[in-house]
């Protein structure tokens, strides 16, 4: 009668080889798919400053949305003529905020989040203040830059 040991060993080796091969095949299929689904970083020009408009375009006591790269920003002009700017993306769930003259604050329509005119979250669900921008007035041009 033949000794069963060599056949058992061969079976184990084959199982290991087959298992390793199947795992490698699975990984070779899954990895490219996962990597493919991950969107590439867009290597566009990094925006650090934008020209928003002329001083006279913004009435005192108003709020205006502007583009800062591919994100919205909000520029406030106060009755004394000074400016402030913030990112216009609500820190709660990413909606775009707006200036509400009747409330005298920045408001998010999605979940009724409220920020004061310094961008600080004062009511509702927003967990953090809006990120501020620096406003620079050069002659009659209003520039907004990243702080």
């Amino acid at each position: 009668m033949a000794d069963p040991a060599p056949s058992e060993g061969r079976r184990r080796t084959l199982k290991t080889l087959l298992g390793t091969g199947a795992t490698a095949l699975g990984a070779a299929i899954v990895y490219p798919i996962v990597a493919y689904l991950k969107p590439p970083e867009v290597t566009g020009e990094q925006v650090t400053s934008v020209l928003v408009g002329k001083v006279e375009d913004f009435a005192p006591g108003s709020g205006t949305l502007f583009r800062f790269g591919n994100k919205p920003g909000i520029l406030l002009r106060f009755p004394n003529g000074s400016f402030k700017a913030f990112t216009a993306t609500c820190t709660h769930l990413d909606c775009t905020v707006q200036y509400r003259e009747d409330m005298g604050l920045i408001w998010c329509a999605c979940h009724n989040g409220k920020y004061d005119l310094n961008g600080k979250n004062i009511e509702g669900p927003p967990p953090r203040p809006l990120d501020p921008f620096e406003v620079v007035v050069k002659g009659d041009e209003v520039h907004v830059t990243q702080t």
Partner: protein
């Protein structure tokens, strides 16, 4: 006519043995009891799904995905194409009715504890189909690329992004980038018309095969109440089913014709979220709760708390066949009934609150 039919069935039977199927249909019966009315809601959901497939394919003939073309193609469909407005209205209304029918089906199965052994897998597959229906609704909502859909998608994907650890990669996967834009629309289109239908078909096949194999569940204690009656599946139950489908088709037609679905304003990523923005009604209770939660609860952000709460509650709901031991033993578990009623009242309360506030 009859001879053609006999000849045709003879031709088929010479090649394929259908005696097993015939036997099955002839002997299949449906239990008759005071809860029998709920048996029809699964069928109604199936009917509305069929309407979705047909109307969805028809919409594809004109729809053009893309941030610059999607809104315009739907406007063209609704204003220039003959009955284009009707096709879109049917698709939108049918989607809403399907979610409603699926919800009624789910709660009736839950309250009659029809998920108990041996139907655990039927329940779980049904729950997955229900979640997939919501995902269909969410992904389809963005496709017209209007203002409401744009912000709903921003909020929805941001919610996914708030899940600890895995949230950020999931959000990127859904959006196709850091923000909601044309890439998101392409992905949602792919989910809506290819990926979700493929998964749905597989799950639906499993679900229906199990329902056919195991038959309808009799409520606990039906035998003791002397309710152990039954009716033949064919033709008695099937004809009742078809009659109800006809009624649902009429309701759908009335809604689609007299309350046509609006297109709204085209999405503008640089416009503020419009006042009075609301999600679809079936997400309204979650929306309202997220609105009411404070910025921080203990040491975690309010939104993360809300999402974890819904996640855990949803998981417990899906796994109910595995922890409701009393129903498994055939005992009437009142706790489960009260919990179900509480969930329904909770959802209704916050949905109504979302509407009126």
């Amino acid at each position: 006519m009859k001879s053609i039919r006999t000849a045709l069935s003879g031709w088929v039977e010479e090649r394929v043995d259908l005696s097993g199927v015939k036997e099955f249909i002839q002997h299949k019966s449906v239990p008759k009891n005071r809860h029998s009315v709920w048996y029809y809601f699964g069928g109604v959901t199936l009917f509305l799904f069929i309407v979705q497939v047909i109307s969805g394919i028809l919409l594809l003939f004109y729809y053009r995905p893309g941030a610059d073309t999607a809104f315009e193609s739907i406007r063209f469909l609704m204003t220039k194409v003959q009955f284009g407005w009707l096709m879109r209205s049917v698709h939108s209304w049918s989607a809403n009715l399907m979610v409603l029918a699926a919800a009624v089906h789910m709660f009736s199965v839950y309250l009659t504890k029809a998920y108990r052994k041996p139907r655990e897998v039927t329940w779980v597959s049904g729950m997955l189909l229900f979640f997939l229906s919501l995902a269909f609704g969410f992904s389809g909502y963005l496709l017209p690329w209007n203002e409401l859909a744009f912000f709903a998608t921003k909020v929805g994907t941001d919610i996914a992004g708030s899940v600890p650890l895995v949230g950020e990669p999931i959000m990127q996967l859904l959006r196709g980038g850091p923000d909601v834009g044309g890439a998101t629309l392409s992905r949602f289109f792919g989910f809506h018309v290819a990926l979700f239908p493929a998964i749905f078909t597989v799950l639906l096949t499993i679900h229906l095969l199990l329902v056919q194999k195991q038959g309808m569940s009799s409520p606990i204690g039906a035998a003791e109440h002397g309710e152990e009656k039954s009716m033949p599946f064919f033709p008695n139950f099937v004809l009742r089913d078809l009659l109800l489908w006809l009624i649902v088709l009429n309701i759908l037609a009335i809604l689609a014709v007299f309350f046509p679905w609006e297109l709204g304003v085209k999405a503008d990523p640089f416009a503020p979220a419009p006042a009075g923005i609301l999600p679809e009604w079936y997400f309204l209770f979650m929306f309202q709760i997220l609105k009411l939660l404070p910025a921080h609860i203990w040491f975690i952000e309010g939104e993360v708390f809300g999402i974890l709460f819904f996640g855990v509650a949803g998981l417990l709901w899906v796994l109910v066949p595995f922890w409701d031991r009393a129903s498994q033993r055939g005992q009437n578990n009142r706790l489960i009934t009260y919990l179900g009623i509480f969930v329904i009242v909770f959802i209704l309360f916050f949905t109504i609150l979302g509407w009126v506030m």
